[in-house]
């Protein structure tokens, strides 16, 4: 199974996790294509290859992926992570579920995540998984009164794209403190996406950072994704 994960800084947690657990998945190969912030804004696909007219973006892609050429035809699955598809808060302040679902879809359609999803889909028929930016690690009490609707909202997103072989993933329950929040422990020691030439930089996110998660978060997420793929393949 060849997987390509595209995203922004949040990909760091998945990459660090994969470096640690890949020995358990000998038949799986993952290539990471990521850049900080909106670095992938200039991503292009030419002759089935991921590239960019912007030399800096091209350099970042090469460094993070470790590959000069990334041929889409090589991959069975694409995972597109973060890139502006996010939830800043849960249901609250008089918002209905219906409106929240509509808002989520509107925001997704305007995100870089959607733009890249469309690029990939145009060039490849392989399955695409979509992952939102990690839920913020806010105080647990912040959304305790919020109606539990997280999974319903993601399922509604799924329904909008089910004919396009696009699956919207939910953040693993193990990583969550409430319906709309990540456990605070997963922000501790989270590392920045390493775009250095030798891939040896170790830059820890600020302690106040509540959106970037650590390797342990990544391990739970990657294991869950690979289990999901196994289940799908068994069907």
């Amino acid at each position: 199974m060849n997987i390509c994960i595209l995203g922004n800084s949040h990909v760091a947690a998945l990459k660090l996790a994969w470096d640690e657990i890949k020995v358990d998945y000998i038949n799986t190969n993952i290539v990471f294509v990521a850049g900080p912030g909106a670095a992938l804004e200039n991503l292009e696909i030419n002759n089935n290859e991921i590239t960019s007219p912007d030399p800096k973006t091209k350099m970042i892609i090469e460094r993070v992926s470790g590959q000069k050429v990334i041929d889409l035809r090589h991959f069975d699955l694409f995972i597109i992570y973060g890139l502006g598809y996010s939830f800043n808060s849960g249901l609250g302040d008089g918002l209905s579920q219906s409106l929240f679902a509509t808002l989520t879809l509107d925001k997704y359609i305007n995100s870089l995540n959607y733009k890249i999803t469309k690029l990939i889909r145009k060039a490849s028929a392989s399955e695409i998984f979509i992952m939102h930016t990690p839920l913020r690690a806010v105080d647990e009490s912040a959304y305790l009164n919020s109606t539990p609707v997280y999974e319903k909202i993601i399922n509604k997103m799924d329904l909008n794209f089910k004919d396009d072989k696009i699956l919207f993933l939910t953040q693993p329950k193990l990583t969550k403190s409430t319906d709309w929040a990540t456990k605070k422990e997963f922000t501790k020691g989270s590392l920045k996406l390493d775009i250095s030439e030798n891939q040896l930089d170790v830059n820890v996110h600020d302690e106040a950072d509540i959106v970037h998660m650590n390797k342990f978060f990544g391990i739970i997420y990657v294991n869950e994704i690979l289990n999901k793929i196994n289940q799908i393949n068994k069907k």
């Binding site: 008089g94 209905s96 579920q97 219906s98 409106l99 509509t102 808002l103 109606t147 609707v149």
Partner: protein
Amino acid sequence: MKNPYEYLEQKYFWSTAIAKKNMFDIEDLFLPKFDIQSTDKIATFGSCFAQHIGKALKSRGFEWMNYEPAPGGLSEVNAKKYNYGIFSARTGNIYTASLLLQWVNWAIGDFAPPEEIWEVNGQFYDPFRPGIEPEGFESIEELKNSREKTIRSFKKILLDCDVFVFTLGLTESWVNNVSQYEYAVCPGTVAGKFDQTIHSFSNQDYEKIKNDLSEAIRKIKVINTKVRFLLTVSPVPLTATMSGNHVLVATIESKSILRAVAGNVSKNSNVIDYFPSFEIITGTPFRGTFFEPNQRGINPKGVEVVMSHFFSGFDSKYGSSSNKKTINKPSEKQRNTVEELNDVVCEEELLDAFKPTEFKS
């Protein structure tokens, strides 16, 4: 000695003010009692036609109050679908003076909203804002939270606004005959189920409308001493009538009553004014030019003409002061915006779905 008519200006004579003029050259229809500055906070509520006034104010850079804005990231199309940016808060259409008084009473805490909620196929609808959520609410709690937010926003508007624009739309109303509260529309049309043992039709008369409007204004002035009011009457004919009269006769009677109430309530007040949008659209000099082919909807040109009279009224009396953004004609872009947004949100139009089957399109 001259008789009094000999002292009058041309605008007071039909011949010189109307008959000898092109309809687009008719002027001085609105002589405002007070100025509106671009820094004044202006709220708009009422029937469908009130939406045009809010949009025109916004497009000309006036401080149109949007105290319940759409969540960031929601597209313009969906914001409209969920009734954001239509009125200054998400009240939906407030067609009658009594509904306005009901909203004011909820906002200031004189009465709590009734517990009645409509359920259709597991979704919940607000009897007082039945079209506010296109798919209804998932739960009663969700509905109540949403309505509470609107009531809070409405109250804040009452406290903060400098000018409260209200467009009177209907005399015909539907009430709960046990508790006497009023529904936004007839139960069983937009949502809910009609039950003749609970739901009663009421075609409000002049006295009731005048009393309810006066009372709403009085209550608002108690909590906001600086507020001024601008009343208008919607020129949009009734979609349907329960009065027993032909819909044309019922329309003229309703609008005439509303017009008379607006005139009476504003007549002796320095802080309550009347803007004649009704006359501009329906007046014979305009020969029905501003109606859509169905002779009910108002076309974009009509909205533009109405609003140009609105702004030129302020211009001719108070001039284009530096702190007024513009009272010129809207730019091409603004005009497009007016036309794009001309499709107003109007629950009453759903009554059209209940006309006899052989006439349904």
